[in-house]
């Protein structure tokens, strides 16, 4: 195409330009209307009092943000979300890595085990949480029944503000463990076997090989998982909605649930938009971190 004569090139270019814009138009239009505009509008709403029924918008400046910083409900939700992220991200990565090391050896029924570990990942979070809600039932739920069998006193699980958030975190680890393991396993299998053979000849034992070869060479995988998992964890909603609805007494309330409540139960759209903006800033922060730490590999999420 480039070597042919000019007029043809120009004609082809014009034709290609037409096709190029025609082909990207639907995606751009749909994303513009349903993604980009609402994103910008959410930022805008955050400085307004929005009364949808009356169609009235009152400019408030930063009042929504001042209000939510002083709002114990939102602060609790923000702290819970941060605790959730800080717990789930390193724990599922560490457990995933440990399991991946085991799965990087050959053993019988390995593929079956892998499939079992991954099964929670393909199950709807809302439905899986419903099963756990039954398991966590203090009186008849399987967890307390099993504890009783081995003589451990009953736990309140979701019913106590002391244990509810931990119970949600345990559920989420169960849900995401398989994914973390599979990603680490793929990373491990990409490390050339010669590295380990050379280290073994040099007298390095299994722990040394793990810490000196596997862990450093898995750094890109680890970065990906930490970022991907944090972005998802900041958005936690489904399991909280089903398991506790944010209770007891706000002990498991999280930012997205708070946005949902403010917007769609109390119709404080402006206030909810301010809360969503905080969430956006958190996600943006993690994404910026990703750019700073690793520009070497493209990440999709």
């Amino acid at each position: 195409m480039r070597r042919s004569r000019r007029p043809i090139v120009a004609r082809l270019r014009a034709r290609h330009l037409f096709h190029a814009y025609l082909f990207v138009a639907p995606v751009l239009l749909l994303f513009g209307v349903f993604r980009v505009v609402p994103a910008v509008q959410t930022l805008l709403y955050s400085v307004y009092k929005v009364e949808l029924v009356r169609g009235r918008f009152t400019f408030l400046g930063l009042e929504n943000f001042q209000a939510l910083l002083a709002d114990p409900g939102f602060r609790k939700a923000a702290v819970n979300t941060l605790v959730y992220v800080a717990a789930i991200v390193p724990i599922s990565a560490a457990l995933g890595l440990g399991l991946a090391v085991l799965f990087n050896t050959r053993f019988r029924l390995r593929e079956l085990f892998k499939a079992i570990y991954f099964a929670p990942m393909v199950t709807s979070t809302a439905a899986a949480a419903m099963v756990w809600w039954w398991l966590y039932n203090p009186q008849f739920g399987l967890f307390n029944v099993l504890l009783r069998l081995v003589g451990i006193p009953d736990q309140p699980w979701l019913m106590s503000s002391r244990t509810a958030l931990v119970s949600i975190i345990i559920f989420s680890i169960w849900k995401s463990l398989g994914y973390n393991m599979i990603i680490y396993l793929a990373g491990l299998q990409a490390i050339p076997a010669q590295f380990y053979e050379a280290a073994t000849i040099d007298g390095a034992g299994a722990p040394a090989r793990f810490w000196r070869i596997s862990v450093p060479l898995l750094a890109p995988t680890t970065t990906f998982l930490l970022i991907y998992n944090s972005i998802l964890a900041f958005q936690v909603f489904d399991q909280v909605f089903v398991l506790t609805g944010g209770g007891p007494a706000g002990a498991t309330n999280v930012v997205v649930l708070e946005v949902y409540r403010q917007a769609f139960e109390r119709y404080n759209f402006g206030y909810a938009a301010a809360e969503a903006t905080v969430l956006f800033v958190l996600i943006l922060g993690v994404t910026v971190l990703q750019y700073v730490y690793s520009r070497r590999f493209e990440v999709t999420y």
Binding site: L17, F118, D238, Y260
Partner: protein, 282 residues
């Protein structure tokens, strides 16, 4: 890691430990599924028995009958299927053409457009739901299929994956087709799409799974019981004021999760590989 050559006794102990750990974790992973099914098919006294009845004294379908009497599960299925099929179909079609344009053409604003599309990944519906709801209320799409579908007609992830796939296709193939007089749309449909089968299948699977299990947006936009998708149906099945009956509740979760788990059992290699290679869409 390759197992190091060690003394046979030590190796045996290591293998034993490996199997114990792997099996132990597998039991923990599978236990909720097992208990879901057992609760769903056990007669009421078994469900509350102590010590727990791991195998029901007899099988019963009464909980399924109760679940079906209480909620329109077939409608929920239909809603989930319609939403997933339309959103996957549109995302794949639009994504195929947009991905082709981004991979093959050079045009003004190309990089800006691509950046804009990818940047939507950073503002999930968790962030935009408030304004999106207001917008859809204005055009009267609240509480409709169109409302659920609105943010899911196209997928940035799909555009990205398809563009990467098309970039790997030798350009000569496209040039040759052009020489033969094929139009661009025909090239996309008859040359590019068949070559991209694996990518398209993987993207379709991931988008389908995402749509099938999506919860937040449908629960926001749907008010009518008849329009609930399966995850919304199951989450709102738990009546907060009535007495809780775990048999029908677990029967309902079996109804809601069964088909996807079956599909997974049949195609787990494909699904695991696809999700692991591409990163699951949140």
């Amino acid at each position: 890691m390759k197992p190091a050559p060690a003394r046979p006794g030590l190796r045996l102990a290591g293998r034993l430990l490996l199997y114990l750990t792997v099996t132990g974790v597998a039991v923990l992973m599978i236990l909720p599924f097992y208990w879901m099914v057992i609760t769903a098919v056990s007669p009421a006294p078994d469900i509350l028995a102590f010590p727990p009845r791991w195998v029901p004294t007899r099988l019963t379908a009464e909980h399924f009958a109760a679940a079906f009497a209480k909620a329109p599960w077939l409608s929920y299925y239909q809603n989930s299927v319609v939403v997933a099929v339309v959103s996957v179909g549109c995302s794949l079609t639009f994504g195929l053409f947009a991905g082709y344009a981004f991979a093959v053409y050079r045009f003004p604003l190309q990089h800006l457009f691509f950046f804009l599309i990818l940047s939507t990944l950073m503002v999930p519906v968790q962030v935009t739901s408030v304004a999106l709801y207001v917008l859809l209320a204005r055009i009267e799409w609240v509480d409709s299929y169109l409302g659920i579908l609105a943010p899911n007609f196209a997928s940035a992830f799909g555009v990205f994956m398809i563009r990467q796939g098309i970039k790997a296709i030798p350009h000569d193939l496209i040039e040759a087709a052009r020489m033969d007089g094929a139009g661009e749309i025909r090239i996309v449909v008859t040359i590019v799409a068949p070559l991209l089968k694996t990518t398209l299948a993987t993207v379709a699977m991931i988008l389908f799974l995402g749509s099938w299990n999506d919860f937040l947006w449908p629960v926001i936009i749907i008010n009518s019981q008849d329009l609930r998708t399966l995850p919304v149906g199951i989450a709102l099945f738990k009546d907060p004021y009535g007495s809780i009956n775990y048999g029908p509740l677990m029967a309902a979760t079996v109804i809601a999760t069964g088909p996807m788990l079956l599909a997974y059992a049949v195609s787990q290699k494909f699904m695991i590989r696809g999700i692991a290679l591409t990163g699951l869409k949140g």
